[in-house]
């Protein structure tokens, strides 16, 4: 199993859902973005967390969200709107948090069977 197996699985799920993967493990001065995807005109920055044992979403700190937003702004040069999604993956499956705001709220949550 590669180091990025969960990120690969998420990427293939996104493709299945009609997203186009623009970049994976994108390194920016502000940090690494796991996946950058595009559907229609919507740009999505994706953070993938995999943990066994407890809810990986709890490890997404405010700081991490701030970094993601900075990365996205850098990537788009502030010229495009974007969305941040978080995939909290466990061996059982994965929770997809769509449109996470900097404060931690999100527009929708979906349980997806990743494996």
């Amino acid at each position: 199993m590669s180091k990025h197996f969960s990120e690969d699985a998420v990427a293939s799920l996104l493709v299945k859902r009609g997203y186009q993967i623009l970049a994976q493990n994108l390194l920016l001065p502000t940090g690494e973005v796991d996946i950058v995807a595009l559907r229609h005109t919507e740009l999505v920055f994706v953070e993938v967390k995999y943990r066994t044992g407890f809810d990986p979403a709890e490890t997404i700190s405010k700081k991490k969200l701030d970094r993601l937003v900075s990365s996205a702004l850098l990537y788009t040069a502030g010229q495009r709107s974007f969305r941040i999604d978080v995939f909290a993956c466990t061996p059982q499956g994965c929770t997809w948090y769509k449109g996470v705001s900097q404060g931690g709220n999100c527009q929708g949550m979906e349980w997806v069977d990743l494996w």
Binding site: I60, Y97, G104, N105, C106, Q107, M109
Partner: protein, 478 residues
């Protein structure tokens, strides 16, 4: 978005403040928010609740969970909010008052604070509770309450409550304890103090057993009645048939003595409805003695800290002990006092301050006072209590010692001949009004102890003998 509402509460001093808790959750990264001035002890509920839910196969709702404590301006502290949160998650809204701490394994515990919350809520009119298993005697002081008692959070689901647990055997005060006191006159003085709720000052040379009497006095005090027990439960969170008894030392600080506004009761409150012993009375700090004056006048303590103001009850029987002089040997049958008259004057001067002026009974404790058994001391005290309570029904006073000076003449009737003798003496000896009132109060209790309806001159003389100890000591250094 659904909002679940459950009720719990806070205590402010011995007063109750209901707290409405609103639980809701929304989509988002998982967080557990508590809002409304929540202190650390309450904040820790998060982890206890999470694992307690896990223990019954439930989990926290996914996403952002918010628990709001209303009114949000009051500081919330204590671990007794746990059960209400768990209830809100597994059952939804409820109009019962929910109090209890949960452990990680899902078992539900009582804490002293949760008992205080339940008791004070009961006193302010709440009747339906969900709470941990309470002992039988606690349930007994709240006869009208409907308790749904749970031992484990599982039972919240099954609707089957527990029975009260048997009362843990508390030590019933042994009456012989009072018989250990040596000295007939001493026992009578203590009995008079207990019967009429007269504050008592025990003076004597070192080692004659002043403190020991103070300790044993509780044995002749009647047991707490139901409403007093509820009061004690509200302030201390513990329950016993024995009256509270607090032994304090002159090294106490004001915060420890009067309680802090952060919710910790002081000695005066812990001694509510019972006995407060002040050992080595003249040594106490001036600020304590000054503060004690208002406490004794109002029977309550007010402590303010920031925006919080707490009123505690504090109606106690003060038993003070004191040496007669700095070296302690003034008035000793054989030893000689080494202090200068000035030193002794100063020392005795501290016994006529604002607090000492509120002490009715003085007694000189001697080393080898002849002893004799008192006849049914506790029954006699109880009888006087009944008699005095009946006499002053509706006036707000139940003991002679509690009647303030300005109402003595109105509430304690004295026959014209005795009144004339008293007035004559007041004029002749230049007794102050306050002194006169003390004499009348003590005489009333002595008359009641002897079963007399009217106060006679003999009762006045006996009362006077309790007032003349300090003049006697002063005459030794004149």
């Amino acid at each position: 978005m659904e909002i679940v509402k459950v009720w719990s509460g806070l205590t402010y001093g011995d007063a109750f403040m209901p707290v409405e808790m609103q639980l809701t959750y929304g989509p988002g990264l998982p967080v557990f928010h508590m809002v409304g001035m929540v202190t650390e002890s309450t904040e820790e509920a998060k982890e206890r609740v999470r694992y307690a839910l896990k223990s019954i196969g439930r989990s926290m709702p996914q996403g952002r969970v918010v628990v709001a404590f209303l009114p949000s301006e009051l500081t919330k502290s204590g671990s007794h909010f746990d059960l209400a949160i768990v209830y809100g998650f597994v059952k939804g809204s409820s109009d019962r008052l929910i109090v209890g701490e949960v452990a990680l394994d899902g078992s539900v515990r009582t804490t002293q604070h949760s008992l205080r919350v339940i008791a004070s809520a009961y006193r302010s009119g709440w009747r339906k509770f969900i709470c941990p298993v309470l002992p039988q005697d606690v349930v007994g002081v709240m006869p009208e309450a409907d308790f749904f008692m749970v031992e484990h959070v599982q039972q919240l689901l099954s609707d089957s409550g527990e029975k009260p647990s048997p009362t843990s055997s508390s030590d019933v005060p042994a009456l012989d304890a009072f018989e250990d006191v040596q000295g007939f006159g001493l026992k009578q003085a203590a009995l008079t103090a207990a019967a009429g709720w007269h504050h008592l000052l025990l003076m004597g040379n070192p080692g004659v057993g002043k403190t020991m009497v103070a300790e044993r006095m509780n044995a002749v005090m009647p047991e707490l009645d139901n409403s007093e027990r509820l009061d004690v439960l509200c302030t201390t969170g513990t329950l016993s048939a024995v009256r509270p008894y607090r032994f304090t030392s002159w090294t106490s600080t004001p915060a420890g003595f009067f309680g802090s506004a952060k919710g910790v009761a002081g000695e005066v409150t812990l001694a509510h409805d019972g006995i407060l012993v002040m050992d080595e009375f003249p040594q106490y700090r001036k600020d304590i003695l000054e503060g004690l004056r208002t406490v004794m006048d109002t029977n309550s303590v007010i402590s303010s800290y920031g925006n919080q103001r707490i009123v505690w009850p504090a109606r106690f029987l003060l038993v003070a002990t004191s040496n007669p002089c700095p070296c302690g040997f003034l008035g000793h049958p054989k030893k000689v006092c080494k202090d200068s008259p000035y030193q002794v004057q100063r020392y005795l001067g501290r016994l006529s301050g604002p607090v000492a002026d509120r002490i009715d009974l003085h007694y000189w404790v001697k080393a080898d006072e002849p002893d004799a058994k008192l006849d049914k001391p506790r029954d006699r005290v109880l009888e006087v209590w009944h008699r005095q309570r009946e006499r002053w029904q509706g006036t707000g006073f139940s003991h002679a010692g509690q009647i303030p000076g300005d109402r003595v003449d109105e509430l304690i009737s004295v026959s014209p001949t005795v009144r004339a003798a008293l007035e004559n003496a007041v004029e002749k000896h230049g007794l102050s009004k306050r002194e006169k009132h003390k004499i009348i109060r003590i005489s009333r209790t002595i008359a009641d102890l002897e079963g007399h309806v009217d106060i006679t001159v003999a009762h006045l003389v006996q009362a006077l003998s309790y007032r003349m100890v300090l003049p006697w000591l002063r005459s030794l250094i004149q």
